[in-house]
Amino acid sequence: MSSRQLTMARAISEAIAQEMERDPTVFVVGEDIGKYGGIFGATQGLLERFGSERVRDTPISETAFIGAAVGAAMSGMRPIAELMFVDFFGVAMDQIYNLMAKNVYFSGGNVHVPMVLMTATGGGYSDAGQHSQNLYATFAHLPGMKVVVPSNAYDAKGLMISAIRDESPVVYMFHKGLMGLVWMPSVRSAQTVVPEEPYTVPIGQAAVRREGKDVTVVAVGLMVHRALDAADALAREQIEAEVLDLRSLVPLDRESILRSVAKTGHLVVVDEDYRSYGLTSEVITTVVEHDLSLLRSKPERVAYPEIPVPYSRPMEQFALPNAEKIAAAVRRTLATSAVA
């Protein structure tokens, strides 16, 4: 029992089910989240268990149903709205960033918006430029939303329960390639032991996934696993990488970043989201604006280039960050160190 393993998809749906059990105000809205169980399985089994009043399939009207979730959250409910792919944010962003994210502030804290906006991210399976994006920074740049990105099943459950219980809106971004779906490549190590009982993982605390003294590699979501793969390879060259899983972009756990870099003196940041104006520069700047001398070599970023996601497999794979690129970046940063 204590060693029960779950996929991330199962961990998420279990978290939702347990919260729905506990709290009658929790409900789910979205497209194909009922009978279908969510295109990526995050709501599997919920309709059967809780019925169509609390597990509501919607028209293809993201503005209406995400906005309705905002209204319901202001009216005593705790909705979880699923935006099927994060790539679709553009049809509903006004409700998301101008209401969901700002109503707490606009009301001077007199109104709470306890809702979760859950959405799928990521590519790597040739779904082309409107179905493969990550867009972490698109949300993290705008104030008023917490932005959570789990990297494994244990965290996924605990972070989802935290997100549901949070009085503020939480954007919960799960990477498709971590969900343990049988029909697409999935990172095996995202499947972990998951306790049956409900538990929380606090939002805003990064986790050290691997300790190391030579270099800090910062990542979120799927890229944590790529970073761990890179660390394995580097270990064979006597390079001990510390891998930091941010777990959320907002709040960003700057202390953990600083602590690790203070130890290692070297920094590589990995992101599957577009490189410019994104996570990588925010993490690097967090370090250098705190104390330039923490870094003993120039930092590196390994991120998605500034191109729409191409369909064709060789092109997409070329563009994606991977363990080799991360390891190479680590080697580069350590090499410049020697020179400096």
Partner: protein, 331 residues
């Protein structure tokens, strides 16, 4: 409240509330102009920023909100004061918010386009069409909680061409939610006239696209609004689903204060004012013996006093400490 003929009490409430709204908007226009001459500077004076006033649109507020309880949700637009007042928003704290004061509904963070009074389930926002989906959500919440509360979503006629309108009405109709969609047709969306924005003459005709009732109230008629809204609210409360209610109304001021209004026929406002809904209702009440000159004076004085007190409260309240700007981002 009943949905038939308005009672004496209801008539008086609507009249007094309209008088209050009118005096409120006129007082605000006055306060807004302070510090803005000789040169108009939007950032100056005790009430800076955009200010959208609703003088002339009182029937849309009182004729609808008279049917509502505090638990019923209202989402209003960028032009929210008349509706807020009719819904019973705390007038002092609302005014203080508009003056950017610490005693304001949100301690000055929101301002005139972001008034939140959870005590009467009122909110508004600045993006056109934006308030419609949340009203659907409030109605959904009521339904899921087994309450007979309703939600009223306001939009201008210009806003009825936003995608949010279509999506929200469809969803409310589909789920048979207790929502009344009120469209204030004041003929203008800033400088764009309804006939160059909207492919049909009446948005109420769009109701057939959702299989819901669509009602059009002509000529800013307070009693007709009362009637139509009463039916729509009652229908919603009975669980029979949403209604689209379009009300022809008048915009006396510019789109916002400072609007040069070059797009508008010079005499339009004068023509509208000749049919002023407050005057019409007053005449009706006098005719019907609900009001006499003496009681009218009393009503007007009381309404104005309440507004004046709110203005004074707002003016005398302190500004928030600047660094409080950093608070309340998260709940």
């Amino acid at each position: 409240m009943s949905t038939g003929e308005p009672s004496r009490e209801q008539l008086l409430w609507m009249y007094e509330t309209m008088v209050k709204i009118r005096h409120y908007e006129e007082s605000l226009a006055q306060a807004y102009s302070e510090g803005k001459s000789p040169r108009f500077d939007i950032s100056a004076g005790p009430v800076p920023g955009e200010l959208h006033l609703a003088a002339g649109q009182e029937p849309c507020a009182v004729g609808v909100c008279i049917h509502l309880r505090p638990e019923d949700t209202v989402t209003a637009t960028h032009r929210p004061h008349h509706v807020a007042i009719a819904k019973g928003v705390d007038l002092k704290r609302m005014t203080a918010e508009i003056f950017g004061k610490a005693t304001g509904l949100s301690g000055g963070r929101g301002g005139h386009m972001h008034l939140f009074d959870p005590a009467v389930h009122f909110s508004c926002s600045g993006i056109v069409g934006e308030g419609l989906p949340p009203a659907v959500g409030a109605a959904l919440a009521a339904k899921m909680q087994g309450k007979d509360w309703v939600a009223v979503a306001y939009t201008g006629e210009g806003g009825a061409n936003q995608g949010a309108f279509h999506e929200a009405v469809n969803l409310a109709a589909l789920w048979k939610l207790p929502v009344v969609f009120v469209i204030e047709d004041n003929a203008w969306a800033i400088s764009v006239a309804k006939d160059v924005s909207t492919a049909v003459p009446r948005n109420s005709d769009r109701a057939s696209a959702y299989g819901v009732p669509g009602v059009y109230v002509a000529d800013n008629d307070t009693l007709a609004v009362f009637q139509a809204a009463g039916e729509a609210v009652a229908r919603a409360r009975r669980g029979e689903g949403p209604t689209i209610l379009e009300i022809e109304t008048y915009r006396y001021y510019g789109h916002f204060e400072g609007d040069p209004q070059i797009y508008r026929p010079a005499d339009e406002v004068k023509r509208l004012q000749e049919k002023d809904p407050i005057v019409r209702l007053r005449d009706h009440l006098l005719r019907e013996g609900v009001l006499d000159e003496a009681s009218d004076r009393e009503v007007v004085a009381r309404a104005q006093r309440e507004v004046d007190e709110a203005m004074t409260f707002a003016r005398e309240s302190p500004y928030p400490a600047p660094e409080e700007a950093l608070e309340n981002v998260f709940a």
